[in-house]
Each structure stands twice: as structure tokens, then as C-alpha cells.
Symmetry: C2
């Protein structure tokens, strides 16, 4: 087991291996990844496809002096295995020692903490410029997948690189897939290049000013070594286009590439997942709602930036709604602008996006949508402490980011029924850009009645009328608010509970009315406090006698935390909040 890998603790250890030994090493790396991924889950297809290329890179170049930057780093596992971190793959007790992404805190062979797509070329171009400013002479290599090329930052980076007059190597790892299938005109050119052995009528890379080298079999270590040797120490920027097979080495992953881009734990014999995820979730609820709506109204359309399944659009559904479902590629900026254009010409666009990726289109939200008051509906997923917990994918920064953009209406539903009511209003109205924050505390159902019209902005709802203290509990923290009020009731305080519904504005009438019978207000939000919702309430009451305390998260980069423990640590639990309120009332 791990016949060659067992002796490999750094890239230096592979420099003298024979061709046959390198092949065995590739098999060992796949074995190590299979061990971790079948038990722990993670990015499967990208890592299984890039094993040979990673071996060849480390065989030819001298990491960490030579610097390799992996785009989005979905494909960095073989690199981690070869750079001193193999135990996190071979030894089940050590799975926790590595993150799923490149991470300078783990290794001198990693240069950036990366989890967002399309950044590698520009980041690595910076390393190259830094080298030139300080008189270094190392090779700088960016590794970027074909899917990532659709992102604006990557295309900007290629353009910038094309004018660099210095060593800079860009490896295009072309497996003919994004997370789902690729979208965009450039993929026709990549196909032509693949089919023409690197020759075609036109060439995106040379059009960007780069030299170009084609490697027909990017899973052939010999071909790769030869190619990388030929560009090593090059004094000009060059794109090396390698053709790889996503998921190579595990049949289920090569048959259904989309499902195996990332995979939860599975049986390595059959590929069958170990957990049943078939319960109710907001992805499929959203998809069901949208598909019904789109069937009934042909002007409704759904937009994704390469993550169609977050709103339930599996490949069959995408096919079924072909003319109304648009995947723009990993191009959030274009998704947002496209939505604005659609709204301005009679369509009803819905852009579903994870909170962390919505960051990639801040200016378009402000300028292309809000400044033009285009009636776009954004559905914001994973905007929660219960969302993705990798530092690169945290979703709790969205409230300060978008709720301070003029014109935008940001709604925070407290349960499933309110969520659907809000989305439906957003889609049907044409007065405002609206974002809806999808709850992430499981699918909570409610029998409360919800309005179908939210056009009177910033009207909060008192759901429990009390006195003394008021709890304003936004979105999926509403249930914590409910529990806090129950806890206070046990202590003979009948507090008021409020569902603010709108997190972009203040219900000043309601807030003023609280002054007569309340002395304390607490706010709860599933996001960072700085620049968020609660601070607006606190500032509103700033020159009054009302005492205000805000609950939410610190302005910091959380990483691989346990949500329950974090909530406890920050005192965002009903008993603790009730204690604080009692103190405030004293």
C-alpha cells in the first residue's frame, strides 16, 4: 500500500523516480484521496483528473522556490499529498489537519488561501511582478481549469499576462467541465483546439498575447514533463493547454462528472453515497416554486453562475426549461447585469447565488441593478452561520455588503411559507430590486399567516405583543427570538417579539411606539454585527433612553467552526440573551 508514496515527503523525493515509479505514485495518490474522500467527502473530480499534471509540475519545477498557484484550489489535493501533507489523506485520524483549499498556514508550498474561482492568473501575475521587483529568478506557474476561464478576473488576468515581458506560465487544465457543463462562446474555441491538436482558426490565448503550447494527453506524465521542461525558465508568458479527464481513475466520477465534482462520503466499491440527503431543503423548494412559476409565465427566468443545483436545477430540469434557464458560467458580474437587462425589457429574472459568491458582483448590484432600479430578484443562499464553514466560503458578510446599497430591498424570511411568499412578491412586482435571504436553519414550517404584498417597505411585524423588552429577531434567527421570549416568560417577563422582515430599513413608527412601554431592545441577526441590521436600530435609538444590545457575529474570518459552539461562545442562545435582557431592565 502506497508503495511509492510512503517514501515521498516532499517534492524533492520524486525527482529521481523512474517513469514507472511515477505511474505507481499516481495510483498511490488516487488511493490516498479515495481513502479520505470516501469517508470525509470533498472535491473529487478535479483532484482525480489532475494527479498526473501535479506530479509532472513537481517533477519539473522546484517548489516552493518555484511557485504554483492553483485556481479556486478545488484541485490541490495531489499537491498537498506531495508537499508533506499526505497523512491527512492516508491517516483517518489526521483528516482534520488540512483544509480543502490551499493554505499558506499549512505549508510553504501554498501561497494563497483560495476558494473563489478565477483568481489564480492575476494572483500569480502579482507573484511574478513581486519577483521582478525584488530581483528573484524563480518560475511562477498559475494552474487554472477551463471552467474558471469564464470568470472576468481570469480573463482580465490573461489579458494582463499577455503584456508581461517576463517568466510566467499558465497551465490551462481543460477537462471540458465546470461544476456542471461549461457555458460561453470560448468553450467552442477550446473544443476546436482540443480536436485540432492545438490548432484552430482562432485561439483565445494567442489573442490575449500569450505564447501557446498544447498537450493532448494531460493524464500522461511523460507528455507533461516534456511540455513543462520546454517552458521552464521561459522569459515570456506562455499558456500550456493540457487536456485531462475529470474524475479519472474512478468510473462513476467519469460517467457523472457533475455529481462527482464534489461528493459526500460514499462506498468506494459502488460510489453510492453514505447519507440520505433526500429530506426537504430550500434548494429543491426553490426549484419547485420556480419551475411551476416558469411554466405558468414564460417571462419568468432563472439565472445561475455555474451553480444550477443550488436552486434545484438538475440537468434534466435545465433541459426542460432551456429558454428560461440561463447559466452564464462562473460569471456573477454578467449574471447580475444580464438580470438587469432582462428586467428592463419585460422579463422577470431570478438570480440564485450563494452569499459568498454574491461578493463577486458588488458593483453590478449597485450600478447595473440598483442605480437603474431594475426589478431583479436575488435569492441569497447559505447566508448564515449554518452555511458553508470553510473560511473562503463563509456567508455571514452579506448584510453589511448589500443592505447598505441604496434602493435594494433585502428581505429576511423566518420560515418556509414566508420565504415563498416573499420570493413570489419579488418576482411579480416591478418597483424594486429585491434580495431574499434563504433561511439556513433547516426547513421550518409555520402556520402564521403571511402577506403576499411587501410593497409597503420596512414594515416590521409584532408577532408577540408584550412590554418591558422587545426582541427583534431577523430571518432564521427568529426562532432564537421565539425561544428567548419563551425563556423570559418563564421568568415572568412578557417580552415583545418582532419579525422585522426587512433588513434594509427601519420601521421608525414601530420603533417609536416601543418607547412608551419598553426600556430595552435586543436585535438578533445571522450575520456579522459591523455594518449590519442591529447597528441601524442601535443608532436609531442613540439619542433616546432605550437600551439596545445587538447579537450577531464578530467581524472576522471564521474557519471550520462548529456553529452550535460558536453561538454558545458568543452568547447567542436564548438563556443567555434572557439573562442579558434582565440585566438591561434592572
Amino acid at each position: 500500500m502506497y508503495e511509492i508514496l510512503k517514501n515521498v515527503n516532499s517534492p524533492q523525493d520524486i525527482k529521481n523516480l523512474t517513469a514507472a515509479e511515477l505511474e505507481t505514485l499516481a495510483a498511490d495518490i488516487r488511493g490516498a484521496m479515495m481513502n479520505r474522500l470516501s469517508k470525509h467527502g470533498g472535491h473529487f473530480g478535479p483532484n482525480f483528473g489532475i494527479v498526473e499534471a501535479t506530479i509532472a509540475l513537481h517533477y519539473v519545477f522546484d517548489s516552493p522556490k518555484d511557485k504554483i498557484v492553483f485556481d479556486v484550489s478545488h484541485q490541490c489535493y495531489p499537491h498537498k499529498i506531495l508537499t508533506g501533507r499526505k497523512q491527512a489523506y492516508t491517516d483517518d485520524d489526521k483528516f482534520g489537519e488540512v483544509s480543502g483549499y490551499t493554505n499558506p498556514e499549512e505549508s510553504a508550498h501554498d501561497f494563497f488561501n483560495v476558494g473563489h474561482t478565477s483568481t489564480s492568473v492575476s494572483l500569480a501575475a502579482g507573484l511574478a511582478k513581486g519577483r521582478d521587483l525584488t530581483g528573484g529568478n524563480e518560475n511562477i506557474i498559475a494552474v487554472i481549469g477551463d471552467g474558471s476561464l469564464s470568470g472576468g478576473e481570469a480573463l482580465e488576468g490573461l489579458d494582463f499576462a499577455g503584456e508581461m515581458d517576463t517568466n510566467f506560465i499558465i497551465v490551462i487544465n481543460d477537462n471540458d467541465m465546470s461544476i456542471a457543463e461549461n457555458h460561453g462562446g470560448l468553450y467552442k474555441n477550446l473544443k476546436d483546439l482540443r480536436e485540432g491538436g492545438g490548432k484552430a482558426e482562432t485561439n483565445l490565448f494567442t489573442a490575449m498575447g500569450l505564447d501557446y503550447l498544447f498537450v493532448p494527453d494531460g493524464n500522461n506524465i511523460g507528455q507533461l514533463i516534456e511540455a513543462f521542461k520546454s517552458v521552464k525558465d521561459s522569459k515570456k508568458p506562455v499558456a500550456v493547454h493540457i487536456v485531462t479527464q475529470k474524475g479519472m481513475g474512478f468510473e462513476p466520477a467519469t460517467v457523472n462528472k457533475e455529481n462527482w465534482h464534489w461528493h459526500m462520503p460514499f462506498d468506494p466499491e459502488t460510489g453510492k453515497g453514505k447519507f440520505d440527503w433526500s429530506g426537504e431543503n430550500y434548494g429543491s423548494l426553490t426549484g419547485d416554486y420556480l419551475m411551476k412559476k416558469m411554466s405558468a409565465d414564460k417571462s419568468v427566468c432563472a439565472i445561475t453562475a455555474a451553480t444550477p443545483t443550488i436552486m434545484g436545477f438538475t440537468s434534466d430540469k435545465r433541459e426542460q426549461f432551456r429558454g428560461q434557464f440561463f447559466d452564464v458560467g462562473i460569471a456573477e458580474e454578467t449574471a447580475t447585469a444580464l438580470a438587469s437587462g432582462i428586467a428592463r425589457n419585460g422579463g422577470k429574472p431570478v438570480f440564485g447565488v450563494n452569499s459568498t459568491f454574491m461578493q463577486r458582483t458588488y458593483d453590478q448590484i449597485m450600478q447595473d441593478v440598483c442605480l437603474n432600479n431594475s426589478a431583479v430578484t436575488f435569492i441569497v443562499f447559505s447566508a448564515s452561520i449554518w452555511g458553508m464553514s470553510d473560511v473562503t466560503h463563509i456567508g455571514i458578510y452579506d448584510i453589511p455588503m448589500i443592505s447598505n446599497i441604496p434602493q435594494l430591498v433585502y428581505l429576511a424570511p423566518t420560515c418556509c411559507e414566508e420565504y415563498i411568499a416573499m420570493v413570489d412578491w419579488a418576482v411579480e412586482q416591478n418597483k424594486y430590486p429585491v434580495a431574499v435571504r434563504v433561511p439556513s436553519n433547516g426547513v421550518v414550517h409555520s402556520e402564521r399567516a403571511f402577506p403576499t404584498d411587501y410593497s409597503e417597505l420596512n414594515r416590521y411585524e409584532i408577532t408577540v405583543q408584550g412590554s418591558g423588552a422587545a426582541v427583534i429577531a431577523a430571518g432564521d434567527f427568529y426562532q432564537i427570538g421565539e425561544q428567548t421570549v419563551s425563556e423570559l416568560a418563564k421568568r415572568e417577563i412578557n417580552a415583545t417579539l418582532i419579525n422585522p422582515r426587512f433588513i434594509t430599513g427601519l420601521d421608525s413608527e414601530l420603533l417609536d411606539s416601543l418607547k412608551s412601554a419598553h426600556r430595552a431592545v435586543v436585535t438578533l441577526e445571522d450575520g456579522i454585527l459591523d455594518g449590519g441590521f442591529g447597528q441601524k436600530i442601535a443608532a436609531y435609538y442613540g439619542d433616546s433612553d432605550m437600551k439596545v444590545k445587538c447579537y450577531g457575529f464578530e467581524k472576522k474570518f471564521y474557519d471550520r467552526y462548529n456553529a452550535g459552539e460558536l453561538l454558545k461562545e458568543l452568547g447567542i442562545v436564548p438563556e443567555k440573551i434572557a439573562d442579558d435582557i434582565i440585566k438591561m431592565l434592572q
Copy 2:
């Protein structure tokens, strides 16, 4: 005068003109623009270059049914003149009737309020999709300059368009210039295409999946009409590459294209500017500082995204600092990522950017820089109510935007000497990403002493020790704070004055210490209040007895306002603030 133009009130009025009359119309349009621009200032070169193309577009297409979207809309004046708004150019009393950008509130021929670059292709693609969703059959045309092609959103848009199976026309207005010269590898391809009569070894547009048509003389109305007729009602996306001369028709503007991209009022005979702008300003102060620094330390570099002169790098200076000055094109995302890479490899990068354009790189600031804690220095210009006043270029949204990103240190200097001290510290240290907010209230000098080290974060400075009330006055609102304290002194209140210096965090020790002898705190910031600095102070004091009031701007899109009047309207004047404080103390 205005021989043909006098009878043109809508595009319909040009449909039956002869070739000779169209030429006269072109001269009339240039005359009208010369009238306005020589007296009022505005974008010169882009508009003078696109006169013929605009005439041809309106001759061939049927606006507003057919929809033309102008990228950044620096070049929309001829379009405005032909679509019912000529008086704003010919009649000096009506200059105020139009904005400098396309604006749906002005005319049914405008579809978006646009002032940021690289958005037209994606926005227009949305109009095309909207048309298809609702069964329309009009032509959709995006007009984009060569300079704008370096922006990620534009490149994403071309890629997306390449896969559209419907009518979509992209006019590439290639005048071989951005605001300054172009940067990026793709411009070599454009040059080859220009020189090869539309033929070259490779072609960016066909590589993106688009059909391609070349028009050698984009200032020849006949050639343009023929080309546009050939693509009208096309059922496939097509790029029409037209070669124009920036500034055509006014010699000074064709000789010095950079200076004449935008121009202040001038003498139409000589081109000489009417105002003297040679006084001290933060652009040249920044340039002087940086150039001295860069000469002394070869690892220091300056980065711009196509606006080099905002920090004083005129073309001669760019040449002088060739290896240390990087213009990435209109590509803020790449500028930010590049800076991060440079910092990670030993360089000291300084990225100077206008507040409004910093919005274009939110995710890179967070992920590429702050998450990696790269010691990048951002210098943020025009982040002020005294900055640019067009709705598309307002700079008062930056505090909520970036100050809530973890790790970032945002410094707000109160005067010239403090500004230089802060920038110098930012450049020399390697612990934090730092942004410095350039004052915009003129160059104020101070004889106060300023620290050279700001590494102990969030330490505010008490500049006047008083009691009762404290005024926390950030950045270029510090002088309003000073005046408020003077005003209070006249009324026998000796208030405390505080320069917070840091707007990303709280000096809790100092804030706590105020509690003993102060009952009221006011905050002043030159930005919107929502999500900003003052609300953090208000929230901090939320459960105490301290009364807090925050002064700043509303969360709205201001447009072409008068700063002095706006400040008065919002009560951000010393006398009014003093009145409020006295009420708070009662």
C-alpha cells in the same frame, strides 16, 4: 448654423437625408458639442470620435424600438443630440437639462443609467434575453470602446454572447485608446486586426464564439451604414469592429488624446483651458510622495486601473517608473489581486483608485487581499461628498462597503501631513492590508504632530480635551468637528474633540473613558450613515446612558447636487450640530 441639425428632433428625421446631408449633420453635431464642451466641460475625445458611427446607427436602426446600449456612456453625446436633446448642447441655458451619461429619465432612447465601464455587453445581452422571453423582434446593439474590453465584465459578456443563438450586435469602437494608452495583451490582437484589414492569425471575437465584421474607417458614414445594414436583423451574435479616431474634428484632441478624453472648459480656438488648476492637490502630492519612495526603494510599486493621473502619474512619469508602475487596464479585480501577489512575494504595492471604482473589486479585496492578510496599500480617492457628483460616480458608499471586511485597516487622515504619514506607514509595514481615505476638502495643512507608526490599531486621538459632549470627527469632516467645538465654546461648552484615525474599529478604552465626564457623543463622517463608522459607535454605547447622534449622508443615490447645500440640508454644519448637542445635554 446647425444647417441640418436644426431640423433633426428625433432619429426619424435623419432617415431620408442624403450622404452629403449626413456629412453636414456630422459637422453640426461637432459644432453643438464644441459649444457645450468649451463652456461646460465634459468627455471630449470619445464623443468627437463616434459622431459618424452614431449617425449611421440611427440611420440604419429604429431607436427606441431597436435598443442601443453605450458602454460607460462617455460617448453618448451625439446620441443625445440625435434623440431630442440637442438643445442641451446648442443652447447654453439648457446645459443643465442633460447628465453626462445615458439616462432613462431623460429619454426613451436610453435604457440604463451607466457610468462604470465594461457593462454594456452583459446589460444588452439581458435586453436581448428579455426580448426573447417576451416575444419581441427588435435589434439589440451594444457599443463598447476598445479600452473597456480590458474589464472582466466585458470579457465575461463577450463569452456569454458567443453562445447566444439570437439577434445581438456588438459594435467595438476601436480608437486605440483607453483614457490613457491601452494595456493588455488583447490590444496586440486589435492592432493586428486593424493593420490586417480585419484579418490576423487569431481573433479575440471569433475565439469568444462571435461572428466578426471589420469596418476599416469608422468615421466614414457610408462604410458604417453598409456594415450595419448587413447585420441588421441578424439571428446570430456578431461583433462589428470599427476603427475610429478619438477626438476627430479638433486637432488638439487628436494630438493629445489622453488630456482630451475629458476636458474642462477651454478656448475653442486654441484649446487652452479656461481655469488654472495648478494649485496643490492630493493627486500630485501622492505622486510626489510615491515617486520619491519608488526611487529610494525599488520594491515599491504603484498600480492603476487605467486612471494613472489620479495619483499624478502623467505619461512622462509612467515612462520614468516603467518597471515599478503598472497599469492593468480597466481591470480593478486584477489590480487588487496583482497587488496581493506582489505583497506576498516581497514587493510593496500601492493601488490608487477612486472610491466609486473600488466597488468593482469587492470580492478581491476580501478574498485575494484581506483573507490572505496581504500588506497592500489602497489609496482611496474621491471618497467624499466633495468628490464627483454624478450619480454614477458618487464616492460616499465606501465606508460600509470596505470597512466591514475583516482584517482591513481603513485610515481616515484629517489633513495633508497626517495623510502622508499614514500612507508611508501603510507602505512600510507588512502586517495588514491598509486603505487610506484621501481627504477631499482641499489640501488642509496642520502643524499638529502625527505619529509615524499606526500599528497599534484603533487608537483614537483626543485633540481637544473637554467634557459634557464629545465630537468624534473622522477624516475630512475633522474640520467641521473643530468648528463645532469652537461654536460650542462660544456657548460656554468645552467639548472634547476626537480624531478617530481608524474607521474600521473601536477604541473601546477611550470610548469607555468618555463615560465618566460626558453625556453626549456625536460622530461625523463624510459618507452614508448606514453601515458606516458612526453606527458602530452608537451600537457600542447602546446599553449605556451615553446619548449618541451620527452625522453623515442618507442611503440614497445623490445626483448632481451642490455639496454645500446638501450639508446644510442634512444639518451637517457646525451651528446646527452645536444646537443638537445642546439639546442632547438638556
